[in-house]
């Protein structure tokens, strides 16, 4: 399967879900959706054969938005395994909640939990929201991956 073919097939599959689809050669397909459609889009993608999530990246654009990127691909169909689907959704800065996709992709379980822990995104429907994963239980304060959380740098002079 080549890139264009897959892109058009995805476009066809997601026609009614008002998803913005753009491609980046040779193997990345970006799908932008709003958060209320994301579960449906994920289900469609799973039906197309993208059966697992490789990574969940949350990106902080201060005072503007959060972006959550699910990088999905396929294990069961090795033709599709070459392609990486980036399912993206933007979240408003003051309300970083999005439905969890663990029902569709259980492989996102720990990834979502980590982004919750370190970036403060709330994945609705995830059973471990509010629990710590990597940070100590007693940690309070800003989620460390936020841009507001500054770390000290020393510079080159002693």
């Amino acid at each position: 399967m080549n890139f264009e073919e897959l892109k058009s097939r995805i476009e066809e599959g997601l026609r009614e879900l008002s998803a913005e689809i753009s491609g980046k050669e040779p193997n990345v397909i970006n799908i932008n959706v709003s958060r209320d459609k994301i579960v449906e889009v994920a289900k469609k993608l799973k039906a197309l054969g993208f059966d697992h999530v490789k990574a969940v990246t949350a990106i902080d654009y201060p005072n503007e938005r959060f972006e959550v990127v699910y990088i999905a691909s396929s294990y069961s169909n090795l033709d599709l395994a070459f392609f990486l689907i980036n399912l993206r959704t933007d979240l408003p800065y003051n309300d970083p909640t999005t439905p969890s996709l663990i029902e569709v992709w259980p492989s996102a379980f720990y990834q979502e939990h980590e982004e919750h822990d370190l970036m403060g995104i709330v994945f609705e429907g995830h059973p471990r929201m509010g629990e710590r994963l990597l940070l100590p239980e007693s940690y309070e304060g800003l989620p460390p991956l936020r841009k507001e959380f500054k770390i000290k740098t020393e510079g080159i002079n002693a």
Binding site: I156, N157, A158
Partner: protein, 163 residues
């Protein structure tokens, strides 16, 4: 107990006995013997005071903030303006060798020294004046035998004394 299992038990025991009676060993008897490292080993770094052009690239590329630019006192007083030279903090150094690789005049060079003991954290900081004196000599209670690791088809690694 099947025959196959019995055979496999016997084979395992026989292999154990084979190694019990053989005299192969992999150990390098550190610290009585120490390994002489191959060329290009990324050990502690020596500094050439004279060829250094004080460009600061080494401090800029250092991933661990170990290499820093220190004010070189004498030179600064002489020239009436601050002159900065690199110094290293071995408490932080990760021995990646980026500073050596980026130095445009080869003023930083690797040595093969790596096993040095310090009593305090402060001792591990080498400002330029100390840095130029070279790397400390490892101190041994008894002079160790220097051994070279030789790859061997029979034994994997074999250590041979270096003359």
């Amino acid at each position: 107990m099947s025959v196959d299992k019995t055979i496999r038990h016997v084979k395992a025991l026989a292999t154990g006995i084979k190694y019990l009676v053989s005299s192969k060993r992999m150990t390098l008897m550190y610290p009585d013997e120490i390994e002489e490292f191959p060329d290009g080993y990324r050990g502690m770094i020596k500094y050439n005071w004279d060829t250094c052009i004080k460009c600061g690239l080494c401090a800029m590329v250092c991933p661990a903030d170990a290499m820093k630019m220190y004010i070189s006192k004498e030179e600064s007083e002489e020239g009436k303006k601050p002159v900065r030279r690199p110094g290293i903090n071995y408490a932080r150094c990760v021995f990646c060798g980026f500073c050596v690789a980026i130095c445009p005049t080869n003023s930083l060079k690797f040595t093969k020294v790596h096993d040095v003991v310090y009593n305090t954290l402060e001792e591990q900081v080498y400002p330029p004046e100390k840095f130029r004196e070279g790397v400390p000599k490892p101190q041994y209670k008894k002079k160790p035998k220097k051994m070279r690791a030789i790859l061997d088809e029979e034994r994997g690694l074999r250590y041979e004394p270096v003359e």
